[in-house]
């Protein structure tokens, strides 16, 4: 994917057209490309940016169209003082953190097993991992609720973590499998020749090589757990136990149509996700591609 103009420039040689080097673009093409990207970026960023800008306006002026108006942090201070926002934030952080940690370990080992070994049940497992993504929340949520109640995990972070793992692990394991497929088998073999157990090979040789894949997996698990709504609002009750998704719903009812505090909350919620994203984004393209190519 280098150029759009070279061949025409080259083949229309009789005309005294300017001959461009391979990979060069006409200024017009460059402008068009930049214009497309700028428009797309603005569309991508604007809704989020608008929420950020609104959160900095006084609550009463939340719906003005000015970009900046009487900039203030009162939405944030009110939010933190008047609600249990920080508690919910902490709960969400625990749930999402644990989901990420366990999710990465579990999906990496599963991905490694299906990538390297041929064992009875592998094909079935791959299908199961795909099929679990098709299960609608609506069917699962009541029975899962009952299971969690039976195990006494309702209203505890552990219950949510386990549930979120069932959402994130199937996709992550699939992605990790594709990623491990790109790491040469000779590396495993050399590890075994040197006397490492399969687990040792996996842990000491392969995992360090799979960092981009792990970064993507971590990103995906975290985002899944951080932004999930349905299970979170069904499983967690009581103001102290809520995660952000549930807490925010309380908060909408409490404040009606007041956008000010809502926007402040949204910004604060987006920050950890953005941090994880910054950490992972370097690896996102390589990690995803390897995962998706081999699927």
């Amino acid at each position: 994917m280098t150029t759009t103009t070279t061949p025409t420039a080259r083949h229309s040689a009789p005309r005294p057209a300017k001959v461009r080097k391979r990979g060069e673009r006409s200024p017009l093409a460059s402008t068009a490309l930049h214009l497309t990207l700028i428009v797309a970026s603005v569309i991508a960023v604007f809704p989020v940016l608008w929420v950020l800008l609104t959160s900095l306006k006084p609550a009463a002026l939340a719906t003005t169209t000015d970009f900046f108006k009487e900039t203030t942090f009162e939405n944030y201070t009110n939010l933190i003082q008047d609600t249990k926002f920080l508690t919910w934030f902490g709960n969400s952080l625990i749930v999402a953190g644990l989901t990420t940690l366990i999710g990465v370990i579990v999906s990496a080992s599963t991905g490694y097993a299906v990538s390297r070994f041929r064992f009875p049940g592998k094909r079935g497992l791959m299908w199961t991992l795909l099929i679990t993504q098709m299960f609608p929340v609506a069917v699962l949520i009541v029975p899962i609720y009952n299971i969690m109640a039976g195990m006494g995990l309702l209203n505890k972070p552990a219950g949510l973590v386990i549930t979120y793992l069932t959402i994130s692990v199937p996709f992550c394991a699939w992605m990790m499998k594709g990623f491990f497929d790109t790491i040469p088998r000779e590396i495993d073999e050399s590890g075994q020749v040197d006397g490492l157990t399969p687990f040792g090979t996996f842990w000491r040789l392969i995992l360090p090589l799979a960092k981009p894949g792990l970064a993507v997996t971590a990103f995906y698990s975290f985002i899944t757990a951080w932004g999930e709504v349905a299970y979170a609002s069904a499983f967690m009750v009581g103001e102290d136990n809520l995660t952000l998704a549930g807490g925010l719903q309380l908060f909408v009812n409490q404040y009606g149509a007041q956008w000010g505090p809502m926007t402040a909350a949204s910004v604060l919620i987006a920050i950890p996700a953005a941090l994880v994203f910054l950490f992972a984004q370097k690896h996102l393209v390589t990690g995803m591609s390897a995962g998706a190519v081999k699927g």
Binding site: P47, V106, T163, F199
Partner: protein
């Protein structure tokens, strides 16, 4: 112990390809086969055990239970429940396939299914087209590429309920920015989420906005794995830009695209949060897709209708399974080993 293990691994890794499917179709198992299988495969099984256990308990049981409920007339009034200290036993009964005949012959299911299909197909098509275009542009040498990439991936990094909230804020009738801008230009405001047709377009827009980054990143990765020699060869043969796209880029992207299209079709079909948080299926039932409607049956109507909800859920699953099977069969040529 360690020595024994590593030996069996070398062996297993060595004849990895020769083994496989032919196993199990052969002669009756020799004595001790289970033990042999265990000693050959115990490490693989150990590694996948956590996933199997968690999925089995948290997905398997609810699924079986859901299928069972779909064959009964269970609702809020006749399931086992506790009122104060009294425990009432379940009184719902088995009704066979009645729920399925009702669903498949009634208008509600087929109507919702129709919109769900429109929703899925348009979302996936538009998302894929935009993702493909942006990935192709970003794959060129262009100034500020990483800045653009960051900006374009942003919708993915923001939690879903925050971005849906952001869009509701923009769409808001009296005070939303979109209508204020329209009013500023002298136009009448549009009822973005209140008019059935416009609401449908609005939810598709939001879902496309949410979905493009994933597509773009996946396709970008795919583009980077196409060897540049292919393009050089095509250029030498005088292929135009379109021909290079058509005959080098598209075939090169095939493995990635087939996977992301499959995944994104499944995800879009079951895209609960966007519809639920943006319109709750309204106005009326205009934007209700199968999943949100099934959720509504078991949580929002009174009495809660668990049986019908499960029936719809099972039907969703069956539809997706049929789709995935046909899709894989059509694309078998890739030689995937599962």
């Amino acid at each position: 112990m360690a020595v024994h293990t590593s030996q069996s691994v070398v062996k297993a890794a060595g004849d990895d390809v020769a083994r496989g499917r032919s196993r199990g179709t052969g002669n009756p198992p020799p004595p001790g086969r289970i033990r042999r299988a265990l000693s050959t495969h115990w490490y693989a099984w150990t590694m996948v055990a956590p996933v199997v256990v968690v999925i089995g308990v948290i997905i398997g049981y609810p699924l079986v239970r859901g299928i069972y409920l779909s064959l009964t007339d269970a609702n809020e009034r006749n399931v086992a429940r506790s009122i104060g200290v009294n425990h009432l036993p379940a009184t719902y009964k088995f009704v066979g396939l009645d729920n399925y005949t009702d669903a498949l012959t009634g208008e509600q299911f087929l109507g919702t299914l129709g919109w769900t299909l429109v929703w899925t197909v348009s979302c996936v098509t538009i998302t894929f087209a935009l993702g493909m275009a942006l990935a192709n542009i970003l794959n060129r040498k262009i100034a500020g590429r990483s800045a653009y990439r960051m900006a374009l991936i942003l919708p993915w990094a923001v939690p879903g309920f925050v971005s849906v909230f952001a869009w509701r804020f923009l769409y808001n009738n009296d005070r939303g920015l979109l209508n204020k801008v329209l009013a500023g230009g002298g136009f009448d405001g549009i009822d973005w989420l209140g008019d059935p047709t416009i609401a449908k377009i609005s939810v598709i827009v939001v879902n496309v906005w949410l979905g493009v980054p994933f597509m773009m990143v996946a396709l970008l990765g795919g583009l980077q794995s196409i060897p540049s020699e292919h393009y050089e060869a095509a250029e030498m043969d005088g292929a135009t830009a379109w021909q290079r796209f058509r005959h080098v880029t598209l075939p090169g992207l095939r493995p990635v695209s087939t996977t992301v299209i499959l995944l994104s079709t499944i995800w879009t079909f079951n895209m609960f949060p966007v519809i639920f948080l943006l319109t709750r299926g309204g106005p009326g039932e205009a934007t209700q897709i199968l999943v949100t409607q099934a959720y509504k049956f078991s949580f929002e109507i009174s009495p809660r209708d668990f049986a019908q909800s499960s029936t719809w859920g099972v039907l969703i699953l069956v539809l997706l399974l049929i789709f995935a099977t046909i899709y894989r069969r059509v694309l078998r040529t890739q030689g995937d080993d599962w």
